[in-house]
């Protein structure tokens, strides 16, 4: 199975938030009463019932007094996913054949460590303390359908397809480098940015927190090497020196 991905082009997005609604529809997530805060960004943040949110960035300048950027914010489906590294419960987070980072609430133990492992601040927890986030409509894409957000997007701002093919197309359309092409082993969500990532509210160089990397690469293997080593050293010592003997016994031996 080839890796699938979304390419998100903020410049094509008109901020209709049809993707937010379609996502809720497919994933059967309840609507939440929202408050008008004078911005198109609504609700203000991802919630356990909101897997995908349009971030609204307004950048007025002298040459362009009206520059609105709409950026879909959601799980980035990292190839090298920090959440999966840190998760202590097998099967709670898993990779699908299409490269989506999906979850199984029945296996989730509610420790919330994935929140600290994620470089993008994505995982949220529902009222039962189970993980909740975008899973790239893993149930749809397994059947060859596009994710609900991409399916409903009227402008092509969210495009879905084979990752490599899509990257090729974007390159021929003039995008030298997509955001997320190489970060974290390659992200499953790619952005066609026309400006620096921070303009769109994204990290220039997203990375798994160093504490998590150090733990995974060094402390984790040290646990079994350390345990095995301590047992081996004890046995070797016993073979070399044996039990502690008292002076009389030592004399007796001689």
């Amino acid at each position: 199975m080839t890796r699938k991905s979304l390419i998100i082009s903020p410049e094509l997005c008109i901020g209709c938030r049809g993707c937010q609604t379609a996502c809720k529809g497919w994933n059967q997530l309840p609507a939440t009463k929202t408050v008008n805060k004078g911005t198109a960004e609504n609700p203000p943040d991802l919630t356990p019932n909101l897997y995908n949110k349009i971030r609204y960035v307004e950048i007025p300048s002298a040459s362009n007094p009206v520059r609105w950027l709409f950026v879909s914010q959601r799980c980035m489906h990292c190839d090298d996913a920090g959440c999966m590294k840190i998760c202590p419960a097998p099967g709670a987070l898993f990779k699908t054949e299409e490269g989506a980072v999906a979850f199984n609430k029945d296996k989730c133990i509610g420790c919330k460590l994935c929140v600290s492992g994620c470089p993008f601040n994505i995982p949220r927890y529902d009222e039962k303390d189970k993980i909740s986030k975008c899973h790239l409509c893993s149930d749809r894409i397994a059947e060859g359908l596009a994710p609900a957000c991409a399916k409903t997007c009227p402008t092509g701002a969210i495009a879905y397809g084979d990752r490599d093919t899509m990257i090729g197309k974007a390159q021929s359309a003039g995008y030298q480098k997509l955001y997320g092409e190489a970060d974290l082993g390659g992200l499953g969500i790619l952005y066609a940015f026309k400006d620096a990532p921070r303009v769109y509210g994204m990290d220039e160089h997203p990375a798994i927190p160093e504490a998590v990397v150090f733990w995974h690469k060094t402390l984790k293997p040290l646990a079994y090497w350390g345990l095995g080593g301590a047992v081996a050293v004890s046995l070797l010592h016993y073979i070399a020196f044996g039990s502690k003997k008292d002076e009389e016994e030592v004399k007796k031996d001689e």
Binding site: C111, L113, W215, A223, H237, K244, E247
Partner: protein
């Protein structure tokens, strides 16, 4: 107690030690389960959710037991003298077949140092465990605690097998202290001369 035996550990100390030991084994086994996704442990713990609860509550038992060890060992462990320094330079006599180390108190130098180590590592691993359990949303605390918890874990799985070896195979006659609390006077005179002298036997 027969006349040729002497009491080295009281009932409180023995029970305290076993509470610490049993909770430690539960914590380490489930800890390895979490680290390496050992689904085989489901046959023991039921599920990873239950293993999490058991791990957390065993941690409470461990932390409380660790606190009570302070009364049993800390003042003695901190009383380091010249004899202890000599003991260290002689490697506790463990690296020579002709053991000759300075006279020892109720705890020997190795036991004193081991206790201080366990107290510090145990406090770090307990405190960080409570942070991971109770404050999972505070990221900067989680990173620090996650490192402390895992470094503490590595140190413990190295130190405890050595402790078990030293308390059984390496020093015959020692393990009974954690079962009966008593040792033969003759044995005590050889291993803990300073302590026997203090008691005036």
């Amino acid at each position: 107690m027969s006349n040729n035996m002497v009491k080295k550990a009281n009932a409180f100390e023995i029970m305290n030690h076993w509470a610490l030991a049993i909770s430690f084994f539960i914590l380490v086994i489930s800890g390895f389960g979490f680290l390496f996704h050992l689904e085989q442990l489901n046959s023991v713990f039921g599920s990873f959710s239950q293993m999490r609860d058991i791990h957390n509550w065993a941690g409470v038992v461990f932390a409380v037991s660790l606190f009570f060890t302070i009364f049993n060992y800390l003042p003695l462990a901190l009383s380091i003298s010249g004899d202890d320094i000599t003991w260290i330079f002689k490697g506790g006599g463990y690296f020579s077949k002709k053991a000759a180390v300075p006279p020892q108190d109720r705890l020997n130098t190795g036991q004193k140092l081991f206790y201080i180590f366990i107290l510090l590592a145990g406090m770090a691993i307990s405190a960080s465990g409570f942070v991971i359990w109770l404050m999972p949303e505070v990221k900067k605390w989680i990173y620090l605690s996650f490192l402390a918890h895992n470094i503490g874990f590595d140190l413990m799985v190295i130190a405890i097998p050595l402790h078990i070896y030293l308390g059984t195979l390496a020093n015959p006659g020692t393990f009974r202290i954690m079962v009966y609390g008593t040792v033969p006077i003759e044995w005590a005179k050889k291993r803990h001369a300073k302590w026997v002298q203090k008691m005036g036997i």
